[in-house]
């Protein structure tokens, strides 16, 4: 298999790797770079566990080929905490017990982050829509929705 060079910015750090052509971004992140926060769930674009943010847009890393991300800005859940302080979404997921087995959590948080980046004060319907591509088999979704709304409230209080 031909090796191809790939360069992108991952959570603020420049990454340059040689990967097998056709490797998915999910596999490149987890197996080559060592960022295991995106989870491999269905590999079919159905569960959302592998969701990452590429150039500001929510994307599925299991269906994205790494070499199509040359020059891109990629954010994963592992890049959200700063200086050991959890991102407000991560804190809200903990505080409202919005995670059980935790497998869907990174994808849920990335979907929620894109929502809050564009809609700082979302309605419940906005949150449901934003998370509609992410499957959770544990929580029944309500604690997750409450966590995103709580993070939004915390953000707006901090901004006030």
């Amino acid at each position: 298999m031909a090796k191809v060079p790939v360069q992108f910015t991952l959570n603020g750090s420049e990454k340059a790797e040689f990967i097998d052509s056709g490797t998915t971004l999910l596999n490149a992140l987890r197996d080559k770079i060592g960022d295991t926060s995106p989870k491999g769930g269905c590999h079919q674009g159905t569960c959302g566990a592998c969701s990452v943010i590429i150039d500001g847009e929510l994307r599925l890393s299991c269906l994205t080929l790494a070499e199509t991300c040359n020059g891109a800005m990629i954010t994963t859940t592992s890049g959200l905490a700063e200086g050991g302080v959890l991102h407000p979404l991560q804190r809200a997921f903990l505080d409202t017990f919005a995670t059980q087995c935790g497998f869907c959590t990174p994808g849920m948080i990335m979907a929620a982050k894109v929502l809050l980046d564009h809609t700082p004060n979302p309605s419940r319907e906005d949150v449901v829509e934003a998370l509609s591509g992410n499957i959770c088999r544990c929580t029944g979704y309500e604690p997750i929705i409450q966590a995103v709304l709580a993070a939004a409230r915390a953000n707006s209080q901090n901004a006030a």
Binding site: M1, A2, V4, D20, S21, G22, T23, T24, N27, H43, Q44, G45, G48, S51, E57, L58, R59, L60, C62, L63, T64, L65, E67, T68, A111, V114, V128, E129, A130, S132, G133, N134
Partner: protein, 262 residues
Amino acid sequence: MALALQTFATVKDANAALKLAGTRYLGGGTLVVRAANEGDVSVSGLVRSTDPALSAIEVRGGKVRVGASVTMAEIARHPELGALAKAARAVGGPAIRNMATVGGNLFAPAPYGDFAVALLALDATFGTDDGETPIETFLAGRDDGRAIVTSVSFTKAGSFRFLKVSRVKPKGVSVLSIAIVLEQAGGGTVSSARIALGCMADRPMRAKAAEKALLGRTLDPDGIAPALAAAGDGTSPITDPIASAWYRAEVLPVHLGRLLLS
């Protein structure tokens, strides 16, 4: 297994590379990478083109030309394509809509391909390097074609209506989808109708008997009754974990009636 990807600046060069057996075109990846992940051994290599024309949206007067690489999310937020936003948002969740392309949706097998249903009702044409093809011709031969779709063109229709029926809200796989473009005469009677159905065959199809039954009728319960009675003519609904063929056939007239009366 990883599949080697070849990237070309022009569609012409990508078309040439696509002639190799086992090679598939990579658009947004929601079909072909999914197939590869699933172990589809018929895929042995991938080709894509970065031609900027593939990502352009042009709206001039009532005419619309959409590049094949334009995503559902781009359609949904385009200020001049508001009528189509509902159909674009019917495709997957937010991440899928950021990836799934107009060109790719044409090849999506049922129960997917809801946006192609909308394009069928709009009587769209599809551009390749070889010219333009009407959508019905294109859909009929989509499994055999090897030329890269470069664009989709259609005329904006003020009377466009779209409905996706699913069990899970807000995102769920289609039980069926319906798109309608109607023209009405002065008295409110239907002078022309195009009705497209999704999941009622292995690919989007026209409900031609229902269209014919609507002509000269008014859009009220009595007026649409013959069209609802004929809605299932020529259909061959799919059976999948979402719904059986029987169920889809039973509920089609119900949802078609609601959309016509909406």
